[in-house]
């Protein structure tokens, strides 16, 4: 005895057979290989283009809207970066900022330099001289926060000149930009 299940005009068992064949042949599969390729390429791309500056990325906003500022494609390997930036409390015109030569920070309110700013200036000068001596044609990059005063930044200029490094470059953005 044969029992035919009818749903509409098509026999039900025929429909099931068709459906199962369709499902078998057109089951969507996620092809992971090209995606993995792309992901790996992205990782390699980011690793290559990122220029990692270890512990030198202090929070400061350099002056902007300076069209004469020259933007180079690559970081200068002979550069010694001297940073001048306000402390955690935001600083002020009457407060001394923090000075840094690459990753070495000189805090005027720290244990060592409290009430002894000439010592800080001497150490800053020595540090610039030390770092510069390791370079072939040293170049001092002055990265100073735009909200600081000239009186606060000029100590870095004095230290550079004291270290015998007269060629400096002042960091600035070419266009008007609000930086971090």
């Amino acid at each position: 005895m044969r029992i035919d299940f009818y749903r509409g005009s098509e026999p039900f068992n025929t429909m099931i057979k068709k459906h199962s064949i369709l499902r078998f042949h057109s089951e969507p599969q996620f092809n992971m290989t090209p995606m993995i390729d792309v992901v790996f390429l992205l990782i390699i791309f980011f690793m290559l283009i990122c220029q990692f500056i270890v512990r030198e990325n202090y929070t400061l906003a350099v002056p902007d809207d300076c069209p004469s500022a020259v933007v180079t494609n690559q970081l200068d390997r002979n550069a010694v970066t001297v940073s001048v930036f306000p402390g955690d409390d935001g600083g002020g015109d009457d407060k001394l900022p923090l000075y840094a030569v690459r990753a070495s920070v000189f805090d005027p309110y720290g244990q060592k330099y409290k009430n002894n700013f000439p010592l800080l200036l001497a150490d800053l000068t020595d540090s610039i001289a030390d770092q510069s001596s390791a370079k072939v044609a040293p170049l001092i990059h002055i990265r100073a926060d735009r909200n600081l005063t000239y009186g606060q930044v000029q100590n870095a200029l004095l230290a550079s000149a004291g270290a015998g490094q007269t060629k400096i470059q002042i960091a600035a953005f070419r266009s008007e930009k609000v930086a971090e």
Partner: protein, 156 residues
């Protein structure tokens, strides 16, 4: 001729070493997301070249009389620029809307009036409370006018 595989061979072929890709993909994605989220991209900065004198002293001994540019920042964010005795300009004031480019145009006229050359020294005289932003923008403006002999004054 038909080849028959032994049970051991069949077992060996079925349990071949395979690299399990899925955990690796998971880790790679996690790493990618982590780096993208934590990366702090610093905008590319430009640099203004400058040269400091060999010995910075506070003496005013210069062979040729430089063009003195006095800079004074005001609390409203503007900057008063005095170009020698030639005139005073306010830059960045909300009312006057003067920019450093306008100041450059005025300075060019003054340089021409005074018969100065581009090689003649220009001395920037900020005070201790002049904003670094104003000093750098003035320096940039001078650089745009092809003035290269720029002297920074040290202040007390």
């Amino acid at each position: 001729m038909k080849h028959y595989h032994s049970i051991r061979q069949r077992f060996a072929s079925s349990s071949r070493m395979q690299i399990r890709m899925i955990p690796m993909i998971d880790v790679v994605f996690l790493l990618l997301i982590f780096f993208l989220m934590t990366a702090n991209f610093r905008p590319r900065e430009g640099f203004l070249p400058a040269e400091l004198p060999r010995q910075i002293t506070r003496s005013d001994l210069v062979e040729l009389e430089p063009l003195l540019i006095y800079l004074q920042s005001r609390p409203d964010g503007s900057c008063v620029v005095d170009i020698g005795d030639a005139g005073s300009f306010t830059v960045g004031s909300p009312e006057e809307r003067g920019s450093f480019s306008d100041l450059g145009v005025e300075l060019k006229k003054i340089i021409a009036q005074q018969g100065r050359n581009l090689d003649d020294p220009v001395k920037l005289v900020p005070n201790a409370l002049t904003k670094w932003d104003h000093v750098v923008k003035t320096y940039d403006m001078l650089w745009q006018l092809d003035l290269r002999n720029i002297i920074f004054t040290m202040v007390e």
